[in-house]
Symmetry: C2
């Protein structure tokens, strides 16, 4: 469960989640290409692959094999609870 927090700690992984939030079922190479295009992030294939493994271990990404393609999909369920943990009934004043 703490894996979700660790997974979100890295900016590259957050960009990957952004990418998957925009479009589901992307392959590793698609994600790499889009990361390089949108951000100036020149992350290598292996780096992104390891990030995806970590995101999958945290339950934030689900994968599906199809031939030589592996599609990655965002799973937002683990995100729902994490912020609620410290949000108390006591409302906070606005800035």
């Amino acid at each position: 469960m703490g894996d979700v927090f660790k997974a979100l700690a890295d900016p590259t992984r957050r960009h990957i989640l952004d990418e998957l939030a925009e479009r589901d079922d992307q392959t590793l190479f698609e994600i790499c290409a889009r990361l390089a295009a949108k951000h100036q992030f020149t992350s290598s294939r292996q780096a992104v692959s390891q990030h995806l493994d970590l995101l999958e271990a945290a339950g934030l990404v689900r994968t599906r094999r199809e031939g030589r393609y592996k599609f990655h999909t965002l799973d937002t369920r683990p995100l729902a609870q994490i912020a609620q943990r410290w949000l108390r009934d006591k409302p906070q004043e606005n800035p």
Copy 2:
């Protein structure tokens, strides 16, 4: 802004936030004592102090000086948005 995610990545810091969510305006020593009591966490004073600095830099903790005491208070405002980032309109099916 990414500091919030990094701040939440460490389990000790999450325990500190738990502690401050239960009771506001705690000093460094109070937090240390409560961490040691509730969890088996034997974190040193300096370790907790550095965690509090990091939490304050992330905007999750606000401090107030009073004589030789420094009181720490939880600020939940940065937490409100972080999970929303990837929560799309597209609803996800239940497990």
